[in-house]
């Protein structure tokens, strides 16, 4: 079975541009979460989606947005990129919310803003 897949794996953007990152969850998983990991730090929660609805949002500015599609894949959009947005963006999928749910992470998208 395929794990969580993210695309692209690497991306270089210029300040002020917009970027879209994509995530396909494990088959059968209905929840997708997004995290930002700055070099040397732990991942920071950005969004959680379940059954195409936003179920949680971290402390990130409105420049960050996301959505989940009927096939449970997800996109993370970041507008007006800043140098500080350079990070590894991780997507995690899980079968459901709460309980003994385990999150499985994709390989990440490394975004560099220049």
């Amino acid at each position: 079975d395929a794990g969580v897949t993210q695309s692209p794996t690497h991306l270089i953007k210029t300040r002020g541009q917009q970027v879209t990152l994509r995530c396909s969850p494990i088959s059968g998983h209905k929840s997708v979460s997004w995290y930002q990991q700055v070099l040397g730090q732990g991942p920071q929660f950005i969004f959680q989606y379940y059954e195409k609805e936003e179920r949680g949002r971290g402390n990130f500015p409105d420049r960050f947005s996301a959505r989940q599609f009927p096939n449970y894949s997800s996109e993370l959009n970041v507008n007006a990129l800043l140098l500080g947005d350079s990070a590894l963006y991780l997507c995690a999928s899980s079968p459901r919310l709460g309980g003994n749910t385990e999150a499985f992470f994709g390989q990440g998208t490394r975004l560099t803003v220049v």
Partner: protein, 106 residues
Amino acid sequence: ELKVEQNPLFLSMQEGKNYTIYCNYSTTSDRLYWYRQDPGKSLESLFVLLSNGAVKQEGRLMASLDTKARLSTLHITAAVHDLSATYFCAGGWLVFGKGTKLTVNP
């Protein structure tokens, strides 16, 4: 708001030795996770701890959870070089600690 603190943040140990990584969290969390991350790689799930007193073991790693003390530990037994990585604990959904960078030296 849940906060998760790990210590130590850096750990250098010799092969064959034992050590423990500590994870404290600030408010009630009904679950606690441990992940491993190799340089430039994603997060690999190690353990999910769901109840007070839970103990799980996999190879040389053993994790435990004390919900009353709001403390989880990751114990490393007879470390080997292959265990060198950064280890994260996380509570809730998902609030991560800063990670413990473990280096196992020959």
